[in-house]
Amino acid sequence: MTGTELTLDELRRVLREVAGADENVDLDGDILDTPMEELNYDSLALLEACGRLEREYAISLDDALDSDHTPRSLIDLVNRRVAARV
């Protein structure tokens, strides 16, 4: 079933599934504005996460990695694309 809104908890689930979680990072903490690099997710981990989000939300995130992201900016981007879905 296609997702309708990405939440932080959902993003946490996706990240854990596609890229695991760093032992020194508290993914369940206040991470909304933490850069992905600081959460120890490199570009490949994000590529993998975006691929999963593309499929689950039926959107394109081809340009997502053109800029650095925090969980907040990625969630906003996904939900904007979902809203623009025809």
């Binding site: 854990r16 599934e17 596609v18 890229a19 695991g20 979680a21 760093d22 032992e23 120890n40 490949l44 590529l47 993998e48 691929g51 593309e54 499929r55």
Partner: protein, 404 residues
């Protein structure tokens, strides 16, 4: 005069033991680890046996970040590297990045990971293929992941020469240490026990089709009819003898000599070149044939290859002059892990003065070899010769020596 290079750490991941403390007691008594494949159902294939590593739970040894991006062989290699570093008493965080390198051998890369991604590609579409496929399949990925994990930025690489790779990689590591790198993680770990890997190996025409582990893989036996594949291998920590001494490290032994040759084209009629590789290794070690106390043979279990190996050993060392053993009869042939595990086994044998046996075989006397079978043999051992050959014509030989 070239710098002496020694082994200060061992990390073993083998079908008959995870970790040296489990592996050596099993190898010493020739405990069989070959059985019917359980990782996938081999029912439709003519070859059904393998040396599998059971009970390896990667999540118990590795951080979750590494799991989605690693094939089984890389997980095993990362754990073997951890164990080798611990055995050497080395913490990579204590050494400058460019003082440490990684040179491993690989014969198949990440086959199972690649097979799963191919399945996704064809069943679901390209969007479902993992981004990690970009490196998880690649032959150099074990070197890469070990290097990244531990910040080892010195000379690194991969050697791909089928089952000779384990010796070739260690030889390359020795070269780099002689050029000035302080420490190199070397050896090889392979794991391709998946349907795609299986059909690839069967296509090579060398796999045994016997269903009984007791008669499936019989090198130097009149009944030899191919080998049984296995997974795993060993990683070794190499440093200069001076570096080891300066930090008071325990030394397993010295990589004293190495030789490698490539067989000429069959049409030339010049015959295989293994004897020359052995001679080169002995010369490199400054050793005579009489110095060799034990041979860890390649043990291909293909009659022409067994004959070639026996002829080379007899020509250089003298018939029945030296005990010969093939401990990989208990594990199967481990591809890039085979010779690395043989090196580790040779070092353990030298330390304890025990030659682990070749299992299952009834030696064919026509080969003229003194094969250690049944029971381990107690002996005074100072120098071991390890032989490894790769499909296509690779011949490698390495001399390892005790260090007093």
């Amino acid at each position: 005069m070239s710098t002496a290079v020694v082994v200060t750490g061992l990390g073993v991941v083998a079908p008959n033991g995870l970790g040296t403390a489990n592996y050596w007691p099993a190898a010493r008594v020739g405990k069989n680890a070959i059985g019917r494949l359980s990782r996938f159902d081999p029912g439709r294939y003519p070859s059904k046996l393998a040396g599998e590593i059971h009970g390896f739970a990667a999540e118990e040894h590795l951080p979750s970040r590494l799991l989605p991006q690693t094939d089984r062989m890389t997980r095993l290699a990362l754990v073997a590297a951890d164990w080798a570093l611990a055995d050497a008493g080395l913490d990579p965080r204590d050494l400058p990045d460019f003082d440490m390198g990684v040179v491993t051998a690989s014969a198949s890369g990440g086959f199972e990971f690649g097979q799963n991604e191919l399945r996704r590609l064809w069943r679901q579409g390209s969007q479902y293929v993992s981004a990690y496929q970009s490196f998880a399949w690649f032959y150099a990925v074990n070197s890469g992941q070990i290097s990244i994990r531990h910040g080892m930025r010195g000379p690194s690489g991969v050697v791909v020469s089928d089952q000779a790779g384990g010796l070739d990689a260690v030889a390359q590591a020795r070269r780099q240490i002689r050029k000035g790198t302080r420490m190199i993680v070397s050896g090889g770990v392979d794991a391709s026990l998946c349907p795609w890997g299986w059909v690839a190996q069967m296509a090579g025409g060398r796999l045994s089709t016997h269903d009984d582990p007791a008669v499936a893989y019989l090198p130097f036996d009149a009944r030899a009819a191919g080998h049984v594949p296995g997974e795993g291998g060993a990683l070794l920590i190499l440093e200069s003898a001076d570096s080891a001494r300066d930090r008071g490290a325990r030394v397993h032994g010295e990589i004293a000599g190495y030789g490698a040759t490539f067989d000429p084209h069959p049409d030339t009629g010049r015959g295989p070149a293994l004897a020359r590789a052995i001679e080169l290794a002995l010369a490199d070690a400054g050793a005579d044939a009489a110095d060799v106390d034990v041979v860890f043979a390649d043990g291909a279990a293909v009659p022409e290859l067994d004959r070639a190996e026996a002829e080379a050993l007899n020509a250089v060392l003298g018939s029945r002059a030296v005990p010969v053993t093939v401990p990989k009869t208990a594990t199967g042939r481990l591809y890039s892990g085979a010779a690395a595990l043989d090196l580790a086994t040779a070092l353990l044998a030298l330390r304890e003065g025990i030659i682990p046996p070749t299992v299952h075989i009834e030696p064919d006397e026509r080969y003229g070899l003194d094969l250690v079978t049944g029971q381990p043999r107690v002996a005074t051992l100072g120098t071991a010769l390890v032989i490894a050959r790769g499909d296509g014509g690779f011949n490698s030989a390495m001399v390892v020596r005790s260090v007093s």
